[in-house]
Symmetry: D4
Subunit: 222 residues, 8 copies
């Protein structure tokens, strides 16, 4: 029973195309597992997802859903209950550095849960620009491009000047000093000189994935 602490929004997939997802942070392990069970029961047409899961959830989840496929990503801190749908679409997820990978994996897992095919390209930051320029063909073919970057947050601005697809910047908390917490990266992305770049919250790979999925839904005729 979740009713004393939550009010699940089983109607969200109908309204917005995307089901409710559990934010694991700030909840007890019991609450998160109960919410995952509630979402899975309320909408059997797709898997249930929890993001930003603390260690306790990652440890308890595999044994908590007997008879279900449970997929844990310790780096991306996600739990998926139920089988993934067949993927479709063409979204590309770039990272500026290796340390941005956990956020990128939250993004690609969310895309997979939503049935979107994602292509993950790590470590193509602007300190070595040839790594990006060598992959332009993959980028130009995409329906949506998600660019995950911490520190200076420069990569999304460069990408948005090179491709015609919608580009979403995800600032990350990677870095130290003025970069710590991701506000420098977020500020740089919002202040971009490249028209059309949009931004989500720091470390919010999930939100970028949902935006990409809304775009993919339009392309698919949704």
């Amino acid at each position: 029973m979740t009713e004393s602490f939550a009010d699940l929004d089983h109607d969200r997939r109908r309204r917005t195309g995307v089901p409710e997802v559990v934010l694991g942070e700030g909840k007890t392990t019991e609450q998160t597992l109960a919410l995952l069970a509630g979402l899975r029961a309320g909408d059997p047409s797709g898997p249930a997802l929890a993001t930003r899961c603390p260690d306790g959830v990652l440890a308890a989840a595999p044994g908590a859903f007997p008879g279900e496929a449970v997929t844990i990503d310790e780096h991306g801190r996600t739990v998926v209950v139920g089988d993934l749908p067949a993927p479709a679409g063409r979204t590309v997820v770039l990272t500026a550095g290796t340390a941005d990978l956990p956020v990128a994996r939250e993004c690609t897992t969310t895309l997979a849960v939503l049935g979107i095919a994602a292509d993950l390209v790590p470590d193509v930051g602007v300190a070595g620009l040839h790594r990006l320029l060598g992959r332009l063909d993959r980028l130009r073919d995409a329906h949506a491009v998600v660019v995950v970057a911490g520190m200076d947050g420069a990569l999304p601005s460069v990408v948005a000047g090179l491709v015609a697809a919608p580009v979403v910047g995800v600032p990350t908390s990677t870095g130290y000093g003025v970069a710590a917490g991701g506000l420098a990266a977020a500020g740089a992305m919002l202040a971009t000189c490249s028209p059309g770049l949009v931004v989500v919250n720091v470390d919010n790979g999930f939100g970028a994935a949902v935006h990409a999925a809304r775009i993919e839904g339009l392309v698919a005729g949704g």
Copy 2:
């Protein structure tokens, strides 16, 4: 001749689907008019646009391009040189209040320059929620929804929970005290509890329009 102070990017439309646009702010009137002329000459297939134009540009522009259609929007502070293309697509632009209109008009003018049909719905902020709820049909039909809001920046989060289209929040500098400058609205939009909301810089109606146009381009099969 602009070469001593600028290096026009005539290739940008080919790469990104959107031609270069002049940011009027921080330039002299002479520079802005020369850049508009350069863009218009370099790419006669569509009109040239300048945004955030100071009074001097708005006053001088009508007489500066003989033989051209010149459209001035004093509230939105835009100058368009050349005829607008025929509009296509279905983008909706909402504002929370009347004071957000100049930013919304920068957005709709940019959309018009890019050939996107835009539907402007002003003054539907969350203090009187029935105004928004009475327009849900128009929103649910859109390819992209741009929500322009200052002060608390709450409206985009509400909208993103009600529709399946991609939603772009534009924080505005409307308001005073902690709202002045738009950082409270921007923070609220980035921190949204509504999955999939993306954000552009404060008062950046132009950037939101370009993102919407990239989405419309995909839908149109671009």
Copy 3:
């Protein structure tokens, strides 16, 4: 003896209607327990309360007051020594999400200590607006409404546009990135477009309860 580190304000209930309460944070366990004992001894007409108690206080309190009723809330981090008064009044406490519950419980416990009847409604955030709209009757009947919300802090603005009762927003530190620490939520609430919304410090469920109790005191003819 508390005199070497504190100077209890036994007169506060007379002046302000609300007795002094111990803030557990930043004190040693010994100090907090001694202050609770001092408050309880100095004003036997009602229970003594400590908020934001560290683990050490929560563990030690049950055994520290022999012959007294001691109530511990591990989530809300409160300790109550003494029996609660009979509740009266009509205050409603809403939360935007499950993660806001600890702050809401600090609020409802404080209300209970002050003899106010509180109705707790969790998880009605703006991403799924129908959850709030379905409860308007309960809200419209209230003397005071406390709205606890982190992340975008949008819910209090929506509520203040729907009801005539005084509404207090409590921003919470729930969330990450720009939401971490609750300043985005606090900024959004202060910048509200809904007239009459007032705000307390981040995570200050206690302060919101005292304000509501002052209002209830007026209604009761205090």
Copy 4:
């Protein structure tokens, strides 16, 4: 006709007890006057109010509503169209200094429009505490106390420790250096050590008045 730029909320008085009010800032003079006329026509049961009016509105308003009583406050920057209702209730408005008076007058004008009797006590800041202590009787009798203070924002915390009525702090942008813009005062009020103090946006005398009016409405049995 306001429909192209606004969507008046004539239902707001029914829902919240307080009619819609025009924020003059960020609008053209024409827009503000049209909105005042629309509000006045839509709800003849009380006067229409505009706050934070630029000079153009203050100059044009007296001649814009033939046959109506029009009251201008140049310091408080308000325009009232229509006769004030008879006052009732007992709200006290304090200021810490003379420079806080414009905000206090926005507050007392709003209270007058809403039919609340207000008692204005200026210049009782904490640098000379005896000025406040000499007026405690007037304060202890109030239904609501609004405390307007810039600079250190200390006065509301002192007041909230002395009276039982609900206390609302209004930080002002009075001051310079770290006080400029009012964020130091707002931070101090939110961080108060005095339980129950609530806060509105910097310079928001209007919002404090509406909260006080909601409280007065309860006391009056509304």
Copy 5:
């Protein structure tokens, strides 16, 4: 030997009246103990002091200086090596709350090391003003008054309006939400409406003590 990591300033007492003191934070235990030994050896005329000592230093110090008096204050996190001088002067140290005591003790220990007589008065915050007003005689007799306060930082402004002695405000990191880290208190003290109040860094009881000692040195004819 400290020469590879430090360069002790044995001349500082001659120049400034106050010997060098070790800041324990950010150093290894070995470094702090070696610096204490070096200071003690270089200036046997008075005790050596270390402030903000981590647990390792507090644990190791008692056994590290054979033949010396070593005084540890676990709450104030100070270590004193050597006998205290006889106290003279009249400095008063106030705290707003119990949680401000560790900072106040850093201050009184520093004063004791510098030979200043200090009178510590805890927990007289503005939420219960009578506690302060009852002690005015002690305050009015002082050569210097140090006021230690977190949260709203209001107490120093009140004190500076009541006495003629120089008043130093010490903001503390006591509190949560906008008070966390002490910036709200520091801002309020800097923005004070009470002329003559001066401020030191957050939690810097040491610095306030040195300023008071410089004043006491003048009074003593130094």
Copy 6:
């Protein structure tokens, strides 16, 4: 008559040694002149002072007090009504640069009004350290040293390491970029590595003077 907008604190000189002073900013010219007249009438034993006076006050003051000596400082923005007392004491006021002079003059004028002899030494910033080192004798003789500095705010830390007198740092809003508004200088002064440096608000030459006067009062046996 000032009673409708102010409540003069004629008792302040008795309590704190320093009479009330008018802050010209944020008041109308009429209010400031009336307050000056009120202060002058209420305490004829010394001159009345207004600081941070707008142009209107500086222009009107010479003609507003017939029969009185009126001294205007256009750079320091002060008005003094009445004759200055004979100076005593030894306070030194340093500036880092020429642009800090207006704040330093507010300080020296205040000192003069309070009867303190002040020695002004301009333009001895740390970029050319020999200018300071050549004046150490004047500094070492002082009862109090006020150091006025913008930009990096480094000078007060250097001075506090060289002299034994109490040192007050006054950050100024001189500078641009991260220095604009004076917060970088204020932060550097609060974070000083030089024990005993105390700080006042940005541009608050007045407050530093009052603190110095309190110290001089002690030395004089006050």
Copy 7:
């Protein structure tokens, strides 16, 4: 005579290789002209320079130095008194956009005054990367590269990854919203992922020039 407000540092060129320069901002026109005259008289071996000059200085300077060559740059806001030395060295100054040109011109004028040959390349921001990539040969030949950029501040990070010369980033206040004031650009540059990039204050083209001149001095064997 400047002695009452300044203390010229005629020794600076000997110590640091660069003579003192007048910062025009925050000084009166008379002060700036007197300082220019003093510097010119004290060091006839090179021209005297004033930066950030208000309009009054730019207007008065041409007539203020009879018999001297006076060069005014209205966009860069500089005044040079005396003939420029013959240029040597190889420093390149890039700008991201046209609006960054005033800061770049302050930089190139300073370099010219110091005898350094500078190559100015405007408008090569990352939104159109080919503009930069087409100029790599000029960059790779440089002794020092100064990159002037506002908004996202991304260009210096890209440049520092492409060349071996020392690279200095100059953030500018170009832009609006989160870019206004240049803090987003400054943050991005400090947080760079490109090793070796160093940063100066926002809009500080002068400081970047001096750093480049120090490097050129080394290369020239200084």
Copy 8:
């Protein structure tokens, strides 16, 4: 194999003179060790370096590269794999205090890896200026000076006024209160009144070393 999480930039030494370096923070131990191995294998001409290594990397590194010289610095948190090149050049690294040493050691280790001779001078902060003034000869002989300072960040401004070499300031997170995190020091360095001072990110001893190495490369005729 690193290809799934990284894309090593083996070309970086050719382009920029400095090989790629591993930032240990934010990566798993396995990732960091694999990247070190990959860098070492890809460029055997010099050692591979990892900075900001967590404890796990420092513990595992000595056993992870059989047959290689592995040098660990637990304070500076660096790992070097391979023999250091013979040092050349003249770079001086100063620290303001002992607590700044870890950052200074990251700097000197990086310089050693890049073949630059570095002279480390600790603890010469401005509170005791004679320590710096006694070492001017060593400073004046340098090709580059790196100044590492936390708290007030004043030392680099003083140094840049005394020498002609290029000076790089490294703010550190040393300190507490407003100094915590290093932003006060960074602000002071950027706002410097000493022409030519350049700044890197807080605690970025590595970046300062790379900039110094680029300068040394020029001097050496690179």
